[in-house]
Symmetry: C2
Subunit: 233 residues, 2 copies
């Protein structure tokens, strides 16, 4: 079954207090789309953070940026020059506690949502209320990785869809039982959506249609490796 | 522009000496598809490895599996119980040097291709020869990640498409110059393709259609973080 990744255009810029679900519905309408059962709506956290007022004015002061990063971080794992690898209060390991200047107005920085899973659940509830259809909702950010060069979008907020799908105990095509196969579905969806959203295109959301996925309601916490079992901290 | 991820069914099992491009073309034909300009063909390394004879018979001997892992690894980064985090000779950091029993015949293990970029280039050349169309080709494996729970497919072989796209110097929607935005396009494509391939479905390939991407011919080496700059080894 073919999976389609459809960019949602015409959403515009969010301001504090804006209704993200309403903006998504406006974008869908201007793209000539209506939500269908089984759809997954992927939205970049930039839109959500701005609507939630998670924006700070710091001007040109690099020290101010560093202070905000330190406020946002629960722990600093590594530091080199201007790059700080942090654990955020959500438990994500990423550069600069997710604090970012790109796609922000000059002098502003954008922080991660306080509770991106809650943000995703709210967006989903509002979409269901407005359309009668409750899609999976994924909020993304762009993270670096250990060992691998280049950034990938990942899920930092999840609602109405499993974040991780556990195939352990499923037979493969040879009848072997798959042993250690927990797939980070929400991260693969985030990466897929980035193929149409892109960094420079100003498209903050996509609909993924035609995906077969098991029922379940995951959260971004499912995507955080237990620190006690993490050999690379 | 909508991106489609189309599973390629009807490919069947590869045996040593099989022609992967021919198998892909057979699968495309039985799926009623022909390659189009700009398509990206994503294929799991299992199919490529089996066709290249990178399969070993080890029966039920767990010690034999461990010996093969150690032969395949260039270095061992961490070890805990049965899990060995290795650097492969290609430079990939992954569990068990990519040696895997799933989707292999009982008693067999499958190794990574010796040179997956070369495998990708050969597949691409054969597809071009047969169809007149030269798609991007990506060979995938399923890797774990530091810090994040769950596995994601990544690119271990790349031909005819950039592996990493460098947006540095591009203005964002506010006219800010994007500073550190190198996107791991080939890894995002691998993750996207896994949405239709899946672990238990026995579908070893997908076509990604409608993607806008810059010209270029990358390799999996582009996706390996310079070990000297890697803070998590």
């Amino acid at each position: 079954m073919t999976v389609s990744i459809i960019p949602v255009c015409g959403i515009g810029e969010a301001r504090p207090g804006d209704d993200v679900a309403g903006m998504l519905l406006g974008g869908l309408e201007s793209s000539g789309m209506t939500l269908a059962d089984g759809d997954v709506v992927v939205v970049t956290h930039k839109l959500v953070s701005k609507a939630e007022g998670r924006v700070m004015e710091i001007g040109d002061d690099p020290e101010a940026r560093l202070r905000v990063i330190e406020q946002e971080a629960a722990a600093v794992l590594r530091r080199r020059d201007q790059l700080v690898i942090t654990e955020t209060r959500h438990g994500f390991v990423c550069a600069n506690a997710g604090v970012d200047r790109s796609n922000a107005a000059p002098g502003q920085i954008v922080l991660l949502p306080v509770d991106p899973d809650l943000s995703a659940r709210r967006i989903r509830a509002r979409l269901r209320q407005a359309t009668g259809t409750a899609p999976g909702v994924i909020i993304t950010d762009t993270f670096g990785r250990a060992w691998r060069h280049g950034l990938c979008d990942v899920a930092i907020g999840v609602a109405g869809i499993p974040a991780v799908v556990d195939y352990r105990g499923t037979p493969d095509t040879f009848g072997n039982i798959l042993e250690v196969t927990e797939v980070a579905l929400a991260d693969e969806l985030a990466a897929a959506a980035d193929l149409v959203m892109g960094k420079a295109r100003g498209i903050p959301a996509a609909v993924i249609r035609g995906l077969e996925y098991p029922p379940g309601d995951g959260s971004s916490a499912d995507l955080i490796r237990n620190p006690a079992e993490d050999m690379f901290r």
